[in-house]
């Protein structure tokens, strides 16, 4: 069966497998950044395909801020066990000690300490030449500009003005002393491609993507799901059950849910086709400053 959608996704899949294999051939040791979301699920699936019947020749790394949804952590551990994966989990010990959390710290500071700094610590400790991530160019306008093999300078910084030319399918995995690489196999995928591929390949994703009644509160015009008792409620505030799902998953106090009836993959795909808001609209950390994704990337964020 080669329906039009399938043909297009097979092209994207082949490109991603090629990229993963180039990373493994040119930029070892490498590590797959596993964030548990739908893109990571697709990335992991592709990594298993690229090297089959051998296992992926790299470990998985999860940066755990300790504020992820409980369902995400359960899903992560189940996946690692099912595929016998070498999963590394890292939390920034300094952030833990200082009690950094998304309530008392502004999103920029929280993200820098618990995500960017934590990531840099783990990459430095692992001595990785490259790190593979699931970022897509359609997510955000500075990501639209980034190379598939993206050079990071000392301190993992990204200099958008000094990007290497990247021609054909020739990926330059060479790096000078002090430099590392980020590799983005899903660069040319769109949100719709990801969901269609998940359906086509039968890939498991965290249940939070499917609409269900969940306890929510409204904050700054968006819906936050109360995932545990660390959520700070205003005096007299009671969570309200609403039929919601997530388009993008992160730390629960910073991830906005959308009201939706889409409880299965075909419904999600239909919803994604008709949606009039960008995917990262649910990420509260992106609203902080103009060009905020670019700033975070310059500091070493994915």
């Amino acid at each position: 069966m080669t329906s039009p959608a399938t043909a297009h996704l097979r092209l994207l899949e082949a490109e991603s497998l090629h990229i993963l294999r180039e990373a493994a051939a040119q930029a070892m040791p490498t590590v797959l950044m596993y964030s548990i979301g739908k893109d990571s699920s697709v990335l992991l699936h592709l990594a298993r395909k690229a090297f089959h019947p051998a296992p992926p020749p790299f470990p998985l790394l999860h940066i755990d801020t300790t504020w992820k949804f409980r369902a995400m952590i359960a899903f992560r551990d189940a996946v690692a066990a099912r595929y016998d994966l070498d999963l590394h989990v890292h939390t920034n010990p300094d952030g833990l000690r200082q009690g950094v959390n998304p309530f008392d710290f502004d999103p920029t500071t929280y993200t820098r300490i618990m995500k960017t700094d934590a990531l840099k610590q783990a990459l430095d400790a692992g001595g990785y030449v490259s790190a593979i991530g699931g970022a897509r160019r359609d997510e955000e306008r500075s990501r639209a500009k980034e190379r598939i093999f993206s050079v990071r300078g000392p301190g993992h910084s990204w200099d958008p003005k000094r990007q290497r030319p990247e021609l054909w399918q020739l990926y330059n995995g060479q790096h000078a002393p002090g430099e590392t690489l980020r590799v983005f196999p899903l660069s040319n995928w769109t949100e719709l491609d990801v969901w269609t591929y998940i359906l086509m390949e039968g890939i498991d994703v965290v249940p939070l993507y499917f609409a269900a009644p969940r306890p929510t509160v409204e904050r700054d015009g968006v819906l936050i799901v109360v995932d545990d008792d660390r959520m700070r409620l205003a005096p007299g505030e009671t969570p309200v059950m609403r039929m919601v799902r997530f388009r993008s998953l992160g730390c629960y106090p910073l991830s906005a849910a959308v009201e939706s009836e889409a409880a299965d993959l075909p419904a999600i795909i239909a919803e994604t086709r008709g949606v009039r808001l960008s995917e990262r609209a649910g990420r509260l950390i992106d609203y902080d400053a103009d060009a905020s994704m670019e700033l975070k990337k310059r500091e070493g964020y994915f």
Binding site: R143, K145, L170, A176, E179
Partner: protein, 627 residues
């Protein structure tokens, strides 16, 4: 979901309104989400160039610096679709200094939208972009003559630009061309026909993109598999992973490992979802062969010419790719440092890598005449014809036959950055390379007669550092030990062999290239060669090192700080350079790139020349060059 996928490049000179046009195209085809529109309204008020109106360029200029400066720096990829087609659109920067980013977008494009400002006409940068897109294999052009509103919607400037581009493309080859007058700011002829240009009856930009031909690979093209990885999870499985190029591959087909000349049949096409019996071009495959032949990354497995066609009187339907150490290519140069004859780079082609030395610059493309003119170098953003000599044999095909085996990149060996993109036009097959006389008396025989091991002692350092002084002392000691030596001194060689060369960067590169070749000849003669040259560039010292075998080259860094050299100034050169009477003087107004890992480092501030000469001889003993 539409089946067809078209990869589009949008290019043209800066300020011709490219980002505005693309922003408009995305907006009108419904690819802009509501919250992104809200951000656009905000940004338009803050940075916008169109008072009180939406500035669509801000949709695509994703970097902060781009929005501040109102220019596009890097290529951005956009995804949109119509009921007929899906599009991946690469928005390329127009500035000449960011031409490398434009080439990035061109390398994967099927169709190019070339923008021209109706009020300015075709510019040099327009011609450069057209040339690069054509060289890279774009086969259809859509000329969008923009800002028709500022040209009074008159036909004449449109017709002038269309004729000029038509003639230009004719000189470059045969290309399809659709010319459209547009006003991106207001949307005329972008997705809706303009009521303001009644004289134009052709398609809108979007309609032209929906109708542009999509190149389809030839159905009977031969299979090519550049091997990325060898997968060996256990003793029972050995698979070759790579992306299939060219044509279809079936289980049972015979594949030739082109470099080695060995062959085997495809036993399995393995995959996580089970084995397949056929694989299509573009697919990522894992091939298991019916018996073991030696295959590793960089090798190319190619469909064997069918046995029936192997008779001498019949042409091969599918000839094998060539194995070569010499190629000629069109090169788009993308670095701030110039390309010279004699410079060596890392070449990446398919999955192979090799050191590549520039042996000839055949010419540089003159953008007005679209013909090559003689050149001694290629500067950043120039296009030229370059012949490269490869240290390792590489399997390749002309770019016109195969983008996958005919396109390559050149990588700077120090910065590791991608500095050039090449498209092979001519291959000198290895079997037919310039015949190399194999001599019965060889280097080993000559050295054996002298009872020694040949070597190059390459003394590098600033003028006045003490290179010649120390080299002279070392040679006296070696001579006293009964060893056969030869000295090449920078000043002396410039009186003879290199007296035609000056001190520009190009001449310095050629100076060192000749010395490296002479040193290699002396090494072949079995001698220990002492070379004392400032040799300021790492790239050239690396090239000299590559001329001889591993272990034969010793880089000796005569490490004297520039202030000390200036104090000594034995030839009075620093005084003249400081007075401005001597140009391009290393350490004063020309750079010296110190060795990063020399075999020997001599710190002249710490010891007398005699001690340092002893240090060199001791190191030679250590390495078995001196008994």
């Amino acid at each position: 979901m539409p089946e067809q996928l078209l990869r589009v490049l949008a290019c043209g000179s800066v300020d011709d309104g490219k980002s505005t046009l693309i922003g408009r195209l995305l907006f009108e085809s419904g690819a802009v989400p509501d919250d992104t529109m809200a951000t656009l309204e905000q940004d338009s008020r803050r940075f916008g160039t169109v008072p009180g109106d939406l500035d669509f360029a801000l949709l695509v200029d994703g970097l902060a610096a781009e929005r501040e400066q109102g220019v596009t720096i890097d290529v951005a990829y956009r995804y949109f679709e119509t009921p007929r087609r899906r599009f991946i659109l690469a928005d390329a920067p127009g500035h000449q200094q960011y031409t490398r980013n434009m080439a990035t977008g061109a390398s994967t494009a099927d169709v190019a939208v070339l923008l021209v400002d109706a009020t300015k006409g075709v510019l040099a940068q327009t011609r450069r972009h057209a040339a690069i897109a054509a060289l890279m294999g774009v086969c259809h052009f859509v000329l969008a003559v923009n800002k028709m509103d500022l040209a009074g919607f008159a036909e004449e400037p449109f017709a002038t630009a269309a004729t000029e581009i038509h003639l230009l493309l004719d000189r470059l080859g045969t290309y399809g061309l659709t010319a459209i007058p547009v006003a991106a700011r207001d949307g005329d002829n972008v997705t809706r026909p303009s009521p303001r240009m009644g004289w134009y009856s052709g398609p809108t930009l979007l309609a032209a993109l929906e109708a542009a031909p999509i190149p389809t690979p030839a159905a009977d093209a031969p299979a090519r598999l550049p091997v990325q990885l060898v997968l060996r999870p256990n003793a029972d499985f050995r698979g070759y992973a790579g992306t299939l190029r060219g044509g279809r591959l079936r289980v049972g087909d015979t594949l030739v490992n082109v470099g080695a000349g060995t062959s085997a049949r495809v036993a399995r096409l393995a995959g996580m979802d089970g084995d397949r019996t056929t694989a299509e071009p573009g697919q990522a495959v894992t091939v298991v062969l019916d018996h073991d032949i030696d295959v590793s990354r960089g090798d190319v497995l190619a469909a064997a010419p069918t046995p029936a066609r192997r008779r001498d009187d019949m042409p091969l339907v599918a000839p094998l790719p060539e194995v070569t150490q010499q190629i000629t290519a069109r090169v788009v140069w993308m670095d701030d440092t110039d390309l010279f004859r004699g410079r060596a780079y890392l070449l990446m082609l398919g999955t192979a890598t090799s050191i590549a030395t520039v042996t000839e610059i055949g010419g540089r493309l003159d953008l007005d005449r679209m013909e090559d003119e003689p050149a001694r170098k290629l500067a950043g953003n120039e296009i030229g014809t370059v012949t490269l000599s490869l240290a390792q044999p590489v399997v390749c095909e002309p770019y016109a036959t195969s983008r996958a085996l005919g396109g390559f990149i050149l990588v700077d060996r120090l910065t590791r950055a991608t500095v050039g993109a090449g498209m092979i036009t001519h291959i000198q097959p290895n079997g037919r390379a310039i015949y190399w006389h194999r001599l019965d008396v060889d280097k080993a025989a000559r050295a054996a007669l002298k009872g020694q091991r040949p070597a190059v002692l390459w003394f590098t350092g600033l003028s006045g550092a003490g290179k010649s002084t120390i080299a002279n002392l070392v040679e006296k000691r070696l001579h006293a030990l009964g060893l056969h030596t030869m000295s090449l001194d920078g000043d002396n060689v410039r009186h003879g062999l290199n007296r035609d060369l000056g001190f520009t960067e190009a001449d310095r590169v050629e100076n060192i290239r000749r010395i490296a070749e002479v040193a290699k000849l002396f090494v072949d003669a079995g001698l220990i060669v002492l070379v004392s040259f400032i040799s300021p560039y790492r790239a050239e010292r690396g090239m000299a090192r590559d001329r001889v075998e591993a272990g034969e080259f010793l880089e000796i860094f005569v490490d004297t700080p520039v202030d000390e050299c200036r104090r000594r100034d034995p030839k009075g050169l620093y005084a003249r350079a400081d007075a401005g009477k001597l140009r391009n003087f290393t350490g004063v107004d020309a750079p010296y790139e110190a060795p990063e890992a020399p075999e020997i480092r001599l710190r002249t501030l710490d010891a007398e020349p005699e001690r340092l000469a002893e240090q060199v001889v001791a190191e030679l003993r250590q390495r078995g060059i001196v008994a």
